[in-house]
């Protein structure tokens, strides 16, 4: 193995067998914990982190891409490229950053502009994505325009979707509401912050996103 590093060996294997590798986009509205979840996944499987998190919405305004993350569960494993995307919203109000989070006016306006560009960027990244980890806030009403629009478009594109019902560490969370709202997709309640139920998420990810390739071949 001397000359071949671990990654390049894995890459060669992958190229030979051409399977179980998927580019997964982490999507969702702002401030639902997409980057926290991305960090959780990376910390668990690579020891790395994806990006900074903040309680101010639209912290991630440029998509971040981490290649070749291997997640395992018993005998099965999956190589993934993970794309952490900016939050998708229908309205970005700079006054919210000012009044609620205390940023100054210029900062807030700049953040609003970048967040808006981020929304476009997020959706652009859909091109070339094999599966979507859709993060939702289980403390919020799931029937929002953003959730429904994203989900509708993902379904139209035939992309496998896994819904992560995040923030279940919070008292007011109600993952069951999310489950009943979107019965057509697997919904995994998790806490990206504490790591609660992440094992379940990983095994479902392997199942859901490995299946994609086979499905595609049949088409």
């Amino acid at each position: 193995m001397g000359l071949f590093g671990k990654t390049s060996f894995a890459a060669i294997m992958r190229r030979m067998f051409g399977k179980k590798h998927a580019k997964i986009g982490i999507y969702g509205p702002p401030n639902v914990g997409k980057t926290t979840l991305a960090n959780r996944i990376l910390r668990d499987w690579t020891g790395d982190i994806m990006g900074s998190v903040s309680e101010i919405p639209h912290e991630t305004r440029i998509a971040k891409w981490k290649k070749d993350v291997k997640i395992e569960n018993g005998n099965s494993s999956l190589f993934m490229d993970i794309v952490d995307t900016p939050g998708i919203s229908t309205k970005v109000d700079y006054k919210e950053f000012m009044n609620i989070y205390g940023l100054n006016k210029d900062e807030s306006k700049q953040r609003a502009k970048e967040a808006t560009e981020g929304v476009i960027e997020s959706i652009r990244w859909l091109e070339g994505i094999d599966g979507v980890l859709l993060v939702m806030d289980s403390t919020q009403d799931p029937f929002t325009q953003v959730n429904i629009t994203i989900l509708g478009n993902l379904e139209a594109r035939n992309l496998p979707v896994l819904i992560a019902a995040n923030k279940i560490d919070m008292e007011e969370s109600s993952p069951a509401t999310l489950k009943s709202a979107f019965p057509q997709h697997p919904v995994i309640p998790i806490s990206a912050l504490t790591g609660y139920n992440s094992e379940n998420l990983y095994s479902t990810m392997i199942k859901q996103f490995s299946r994609k390739r086979k499905k595609k071949r049949r088409q």
Partner: protein, 176 residues
């Protein structure tokens, strides 16, 4: 009565042969074709302009003092190459100054166009396609909308985003 003798101001019929022969009263041979007779002042100004003979006109153009090339008897002295050179030099100077000015003007125009282009470009760099400056006053990015860029409305720093238009843009790009 459209022909007027520039020298004495007498009026002649249109097509009168006097124009060819010269004015019978003053022997003037310059006529002005006009509907209304010119007043004395106007007539005089035009007369002075046209009365210069060809020699003095050339001298004017060359910018050389008359005494230098015409002797006291009114005959032309042969011009020396130096005079021609001098005259040419003067002309070229005038021309090049003029050209320089033209260039500066053009450059300024260019700069203007550039800033305008940059302005359009920066406007285009903004994510919004519709900008509400104040209620009732809109700036619409027609180029963006024609190119099926997403519909994003900006009002006072707050953005409203039409998500389906972004998905549509993605599909359009894929087709292309």
């Amino acid at each position: 009565m459209p022909h007027q003798c520039l020298k004495c101001g007498k009026i002649f019929e249109e097509g009168s042969s006097t124009v060819l022969k010269g004015c019978p009263s003053c022997t003037g041979n310059r006529f002005f074709f006009t509907k209304e007779p010119l007043d004395d002042k106007e007539r005089e100004a035009i007369y002075n302009q046209t009365s210069k003979d060809i020699n003095s006109k050339i001298l004017d153009i060359l910018g050389i003092d008359q005494n230098d090339i015409i002797d006291k008897k009114g005959k032309w002295i042969t011009m020396k190459p130096n005079d021609v050179r001098k005259a040419l030099k003067q002309h070229l100077n005038v021309d090049s100054n003029k050209n320089q000015n033209d260039n500066v003007m053009e450059f300024e125009n260019l700069k203007d166009t550039q800033t305008q282009l940059e302005k359009i470009e920066t406007e285009h760099n903004n994510p919004e396609t519709i900008n509400i400056e104040k209620p009732g006053k809109y700036i619409i990015d027609i180029k963006g909308l024609l190119e099926e860029e997403p519909i994003i409305i900006q009002k006072d720093g707050t953005y409203t985003i039409h998500l389906p238009s972004i998905f549509k843009m993605l599909d359009k790009e894929k087709q292309n």
